[in-house]
């Protein structure tokens, strides 16, 4: 390690990488998230002082776990002088590493199910997951979601207080509850991903890359639950979406899928996503449960990323997948996307009839779909009015630029 800047970058990387592991193992050992989190924070302060001088320990996670564990015992000892009840906690002097009884027993898995418990508000689930599992600071999370730091700190404190008072268990749910509870976990990760992917305002340079963070969490879940199809599906969906990130905006303007430069798509991410989708298909084919929403959305994205040119897209396959998606997650938004695919297959008039049936007035993607279909049908003045409605319904500057250009291209004929 050369310049101090490098050392600090390396420390940040290690913190992100190991924070979840260390907090999770301390939470199990001491049965208290606050004690775990504070102790890890203290250990990190020591690391920041020592590592640049002494060099990195051979196993940073183990070093952090041991140091934080000692800090936690110090604290409990201090408090137990005032409070006899904590004496019991001192009895726990388990220095063994987390028991290697298989991935399901990983402490991080308990932690993620606690952070994403349905008894917590969705905002609190996201914040806790990023803080405890992702190792982001409260300030970073606050900036990422455009809320004041005090608000975010309060949200996290209140959630931790509820976990303690209401006794939200620190445990992987029983097999019978796992599918439902896993849905809440995946929803948090996907929300974090979309928050990063779709964000269009704010000071980008100051924001943590939430999409990267979500993918990292997705990889951890995949490692912990390798047999869950929806976990693989969500990771594939995020990879196949993220692969198109560079091509999605050019010159400050949104570029739609059909106009993207497919040469600039990230081939490595696409290959990894396709491998995961194939694995999901094989699992379903060999008698596993039917694919859930993330696997189906990943499969749709696999069809798109499989086409060398937009004109090569297998639209009948896309429609068939949306039909399946409608069966497991029937929402107006899925219906809208199915209608757009139907327009490619059977023509814009068919698509428009389907789009018009949906009660999505005010939802910007619905206005965009109507506007594009009206334009393709040569209904210029209607299309222009619809582009205006779409522009009014979105805050995203890149999308507004794209829609404005589309609107202005319509001839007055």
């Amino acid at each position: 390690m050369s310049a101090p800047a490098d050392v600090h970058a390396e420390i940040s990387r290690i913190v992100r990488e190991e924070h979840g592991i260390v907090v999770a193992s301390l939470a199990r050992r001491f049965g208290d998230l606050d004690i775990a989190e504070d102790a890890v924070a203290e250990a990190l302060l020591i690391a920041v002082e020592r590592w640049p001088v002494d060099g990195f320990p051979p196993n940073p996670a183990a070093w952090l776990t041991t140091t934080a564990g000692n800090k936690a015992i110090d604290r409990i000892r201090r408090e137990s002088k005032r409070d006899e009840k904590h004496q019991a906690a001192l009895m726990i002097t388990d220095d063994t590493p987390p028991e290697p009884t298989g991935p399901v027993e990983d402490d991080r898995l308990r932690l993620v199910f606690t952070c994403c418990h349905p008894a917590l508000s969705p905002e609190a689930r996201v914040a806790l997951t990023l803080r405890l599992l992702g190792g982001l600071t409260v300030a970073e999370i606050a900036r990422a979601f455009f809320v004041p730091e005090t608000t975010m700190a309060q949200r996290i404190t209140r959630a931790k207080a509820k976990i303690k008072a209401a006794k939200i268990p620190y445990r992987v749910p029983d097999t019978s509850d796992l599918a439902g509870r896993l849905g809440a976990v995946l929803a948090v990760v996907y929300l974090v991903f979309n928050e990063g992917y779709l964000a269009g305002s704010g000071d980008e340079a100051l924001r943590v890359d939430l999409s990267d963070e979500a993918i990292r969490l997705g990889r951890v879940l995949r490692q912990l639950l390798p047999d869950e199809g929806e976990v693989a599906g969500l990771l594939a969906l995020m990879l196949l979406t993220d692969a198109r990130r560079e091509a999605r905006v050019a010159g400050g303007e949104l570029v739609t899928l059909d106009e993207q430069d497919r040469g600039s798509w990230d081939r490595a991410l696409i290959a990894e996503g396709h491998t995961l989708v194939r694995e999901c298909l094989e699992r379903v084919a060999s008698g596993g449960t039917g694919p859930g929403q993330y696997q189906l959305m990943a499969a749709i994205n696999a069809v798109h990323t499989d086409a060398p040119d937009a004109r090569d897209t297998d639209w009948s396959q896309v429609v068939a997948l949306y039909d399946q998606l409608m069966a497991v997650a029937p929402t107006p938004v899925v219906e809208l996307n199915r209608a757009i695919a139907m327009a490619e297959l059977d023509g814009p008039d068919v698509g428009l009839a389907l789009v018009d049936r949906l009660d999505l007035d005010g939802y910007h993607a619905w206005h965009v779909a109507r506007a594009d279909l009206l334009r393709r049908l040569g209904r210029g003045s209607e299309a222009r009015a619809e582009y205006d409605a779409a522009i009014a319904a979105t805050e995203n500057p890149a999308e507004r630029a794209h829609l404005t250009r589309r609107r202005d291209q319509i001839s007055n004929a």
Partner: protein, 115 residues
Amino acid sequence: MTQYLLSVHPDQSVYDLPDEEKQESWDATGVFNEEIQAEGIWVFANGLTRASDATTVDATGSEVVVTDGPFAEAKEHLGGFWIIDVPDLDAALAVAERASKACGEAVEVRPFEGE
């Protein structure tokens, strides 16, 4: 073990329904009560009469003020509750799900402060 309050806050109009219409949920609630007694998680449970039967006493000022009616003006008031003793929130939520199905109302779950 932790004690939780499972409470129901029905619209006061349920008190005006004829008994025959309430019989089914009364029966189901009775069965549920016997079940959780047998499971050893029951601490106490009962239903309350209508909120207009309440009297509020405020002795925080220099004079004691006794008022007819509940503490807060609302359409929904505490209508009945269970106190149960279970290991954690997941267990409490599972019991609340059964309670809600039995009595036909949403059920709020709140922990009591630890000893």
